[in-house]
Symmetry: C2
Subunit: 278 residues, 2 copies
């Protein structure tokens, strides 16, 4: 592991690290914010998964989350959104290939060798973080848009691994919207049965634990009706009696201005769960 | 004037406007954050001047200032850092020409026709803002690096125009550091006597009002000893008995992580001055 950025930030440190990922077969970068509390004690970790086109930089420079993580003593870990590099398959559009890993484990050529972002985010990265930083095993996960999908799916597929999960403007039912249909057909193949295990609205029905979901969604989001469709998650949660707090935020769009406006409430909500005695 | 961006943000609006500037002879953009209080009443305005290479975007996306402006009911106005466009003179480096206007009024060819950022920031822009937004005439000004220089100079040259001024890592004595010497020689010519009226450490000696200066400076800033030299401002303020609060912040560098960490304190400090009865 190599540290490639380090900045004082809210009395903690905002760092960026580079490492060789076994899960992805390429060099990856992730951002980590170490709150001041991490100088003297082990802290819980909140993972953040970003949306289409993003790298580890978007959230760490635009969301203003460090202020809140410093207040609550949470480490923030922010991976990139796909495998990267010349040897990694890519596609022309912004919604497939590099920058668009969809936090799943691909089964189809040419994607299968590198596109294993679920394995990376839910297994390899926590192992790396917990071995190399003052990080306990209390984990929360959140994300935006494609990353909101990734956070919900990571939590629903891995009971016991996360103590809290939330999302901003998530793609809740990728099997039923254009972004998801394009990505799943490429990464997973045409058999839609295989898509169900990567679709939050499908996974809720068989969830082994009732981890409460906190979802914020702007009602002026340009992708609301076509790609995000939070009503499908609401219906699935009602049917499965799964706890969901879905908050429609009037006037907010899909941008980081929306995330910045509510990230403080999400960090506080995760901190409450992550610091609660178990 | 044309509104080219509008986003809900902390229950207010983050907007970007474009307009034809008479002072600069080109089309300019500026960011404006309207806090929720501006829906029902006139609010004070805090102007922010950005550093080398920046546009109006850097501060509005990275500093997290809107949260604090919404809390205190301040409008934030964030201009670009130079005149722009194909018809505007430019230079090869990052520290002269477009993106590097130095907030002065140039007298030398080829810069003089467009490079009048002081006139723009201190006169034209406040007129535009106060005519088109719910903005009162209580004005504060702050900035970073080249923009910290610009904020200090705008306040010191225009007694009575601002009620508060602060700066992050400002170039306090441009006449005596490489960035300033290069820019002043180009924009103002080789006669160093003409440089004095654009140099905060020189202007303090003849300041017509004792407006207190708040300056934050990271002690791990890569430009501290070569370009910023806050000790020159301190010496000038001691000699002139001018009130200065210079805070050396341990471990902080020149980045927006530094600004984000302390912008809340600056906004609160400006709000106290701007909302005080006069």
């Amino acid at each position: 592991m190599e540290r490639i950025e380090s900045h004082a930030c809210f009395d903690g440190r905002q760092e960026v690290w580079s490492h060789a990922s076994g899960a992805l077969g390429c060099t990856m970068r992730f951002g980590v914010f170490l709150p001041p509390q991490a100088r003297r004690e082990s802290c819980p970790v909140l993972y953040w998964l970003s949306g289409l086109t993003c790298t580890e930089q978007n959230f760490i420079t635009k969301a203003g989350a460090q202020r809140h993580a410093a207040e609550h003593g949470l480490i923030l870990v922010v991976p990139d959104t796909s495998p990267r590099g010349d040897g990694v398959a890519d596609a022309a559009g912004y919604d497939l290939g590099q920058g668009a890993g969809f936090y799943l484990d691909a089964t189809q050529p040419p994607w299968a060798p590198h596109y294993r972002m679920h394995d990376y985010v839910a297994r390899e990265l926590p192992g790396l973080v917990e071995a190399n930083f003052p990080a306990g095993d209390a984990r929360g996960i959140s994300g935006h848009s494609m990353g909101g999908h990734g956070a919900l799916v990571a939590a629903l597929r891995n009971p016991g691994r996360y103590r809290s999960v939330s999302a901003f403007a998530p793609i809740v039912a990728p099997s039923r919207v254009p972004w998801g249909e394009k990505a799943f057909a490429a990464y997973l193949g045409e058999d839609r049965e295989s898509w169900r295990q990567w679709d939050a609205a499908e996974l809720v029905a068989g969830a082994a634990e009732r981890l409460p979901l906190l979802v914020d969604q702007g009602d002026d989001d340009e992708f609301l009706a076509s790609q995000l469709r939070p009503e499908l998650l609401r219906a699935a949660c009602v049917a499965a009696d799964h706890p969901l707090q879905l908050r429609m935020q009037p006037g907010y769009d899909h941008s980081y201005y929306f995330i910045a406006s509510f990230i403080g409430e999400h960090v506080a909500w995760h901190a409450e769960a992550l610091r609660r005695p178990v």
